[in-house]
Amino acid sequence: MGAIGAGIAALGAGIGVGMIGAKSTEAIARQPEASGDIRTAMIITAALVEGAALFAIVVGLIA
């Protein structure tokens, strides 16, 4: 069960990180001069999404 939970968490995080990447790439394409700020925000958000997924994986490992 834990493995299934971890899998679902990874799925969600994958979608999340993918959306972050897509949107930030779009944003950089639209405003290349703001690419530095966008990249920082992207990394932070990606880390937070990943953090949520890792929470789930840890819980999955425990359960």
């Binding site: 920082t40 990394i43 932070i44 880390a47 990943e50 953090g51 890792l54 929470f55 425990i62």
Partner: protein, 431 residues
């Protein structure tokens, strides 16, 4: 050409799986038979191997039967301290004051009838593992056989309060373990490197940087310009910059040491929750002792919010106070541990496919496939080592920045505040 290479790779992969399929059944049986005896000659246990590789140990295993002994400092309430080097346990063949070495980790015989002092256990396999049921869950239990009698072993005390299977036991382990040793190495390397860089700054004052200085200066300037300055703010950043820099470089060096598979590295330092807990705790303390009036005002009485909402909001904000460092702790721990588990599992494929040395073809396939993936994963881990150090320091900086930020014109333009870097990161971090 490329296509042919791809096909070959696919073929190798599929043969690996064929071998694996073939190998699985006898392995399973074998495992079930030997599940209670985790001796050296027992069947390959992938989970156990991975877990023992990522966990802390009281001796530094080099190769084969060679390991570097590390100082042992043990404390048992009612008995007092026990000092020594970990080689006094003879890899589990000797008990000292009721302490034995169980898979590289010191355990203690809780039973007071067990003799004190150096006791020869008369067998290399006197310490062994078994399982028992606790609250319907299967838990490991260490046992030591001495003069025909079996004694239960206590693991070192942990601070999780039984939440993840640990808890306070009959003794505390304050030893210089593998992780502590590696942390010391990282700290000494940091002191050496930055000491030299500092001297060259003094020597080259008013000149262009040279040597190691020019290697580390861009990183230093990057952290200053991308982390501390925008997150903490122009007027306060100088106060917290040494702390944030220390966090970044300490985590980075520990992460990189963890990626080295041989002696000076190989310890899963930042993948141990005690280490990340300590760092997150420091961030929590520094954030809250530097919190200004507005910071606390925001937590206990968010301005511009109706009274009845505060009933819900204040507990959430208070919870957020804990969740922020808690997420720091879990993020770093989980990232590094997950990376190590993946690499160890990929290497473990060699032994799983090789079926304990009986299937050479499977073993070689596993080695090639696992090795290729390991090389790839190692590169990802290298990225993660930098990224997690960066994320940890940027989030720590943003928490500190939120605590020390001046809100002089707060009620008028709350929206404008959120364009500010730290306020943004804080808002995101509330997730």
């Amino acid at each position: 050409m490329k296509l042919a290479l791809r096909l070959l790779f696919l073929l190798l992969l599929s043969t690996g799986f064929v071998f694996a399929q073939e190998a699985e059944h006898p392995e399973e049986e074998h495992h079930e038979q030997d599940s209670s005896t985790h001796g050296d000659e027992a069947a390959y246990d992938p989970v156990g191997t991975v877990m023992s590789h990522i966990s802390d140990a009281n001796e530094f295993h080099l190769f084969g039967h060679y390991s570097i002994p590390l100082p042992v400092i043990l404390y048992a309430p009612g008995h007092g301290f026990t000092f020594g080097l970990s080689n006094m346990f003879h890899h589990g063949a000797t008990a000292v004051d009721g302490y034995v070495l169980n898979h590289g980790r010191v355990n203690r015989v809780a039973d007071p009838s067990f003799p004190m002092g150096h006791v020869d256990l008369e067998s290399d396999h006197a310490v062994h593992m078994t399982t028992h049921e606790v609250d319907g869950k299967e838990r490991d239990l260490g046992l030591v056989t001495y003069q025909g009698k079996e004694y239960e072993l206590d693991q070192p005390s942990t601070l999780d309060g039984g939440l993840v299977g640990g808890g306070i036991t009959s003794f505390y382990d304050f030893s210089v373990t593998k992780n502590v040793f590696t942390m010391f190495l990282a700290a000494l390397l940091l002191i050496f490197v930055w000491g030299r860089i500092k001297r060259s700054y003094e020597k080259n004052e008013g000149k262009a940087p040279s040597g190691m200085q020019s290697l580390f200066e861009p990183i230093f300037v990057f952290i200053r310009d991308e982390v501390t300055k925008p997150m903490i703010g122009e007027e306060h950043y100088e106060r917290f910059q040494p702390f944030i820099m220390c966090l970044f470089f300490f985590i980075l060096f520990c992460n990189l040491f963890g990626l080295i598979p041989i002696f000076p590295g190989s310890a899963n330092v930042t993948g141990n929750i005690a280490v990340t807990l300590c760092l997150a705790l420091l961030v929590f303390i520094i954030t809250n002792i530097n919190g200004n009036k507005h910071y606390w005002g925001h937590i206990f009485a968010m301005p511009g919010v109706p009274k009845w909402v505060l009933v819900i909001l204040t507990p959430v904000e208070l919870l957020g106070l804990i969740i922020k460092p808690f997420s720091l702790m879990i993020r770093l721990f989980a990232n590094i541990t997950a990376g190590h588990i993946i690499i160890l599992s990929l290497i473990g494929l060699t032994f799983v496919f090789g079926n304990n040395g009986t299937n050479t073809g499977g073993g070689i396939t596993g080695l090639i496939v696992g090795g290729a993936f390991t090389a790839f994963m190692n590169l990802i881990e290298l990225l993660v080592a930098f990224l997690q150090a960066f994320i940890f320091s940027i989030l720590a900086a943003s928490y500190i920045g939120a605590a020390v930020e001046d809100h002089d014109h707060h009620d008028e333009d709350h929206a404008v505040d959120h364009t500010h870097g730290s306020a943004y990161a804080e808002a995101v971090a509330h997730h």
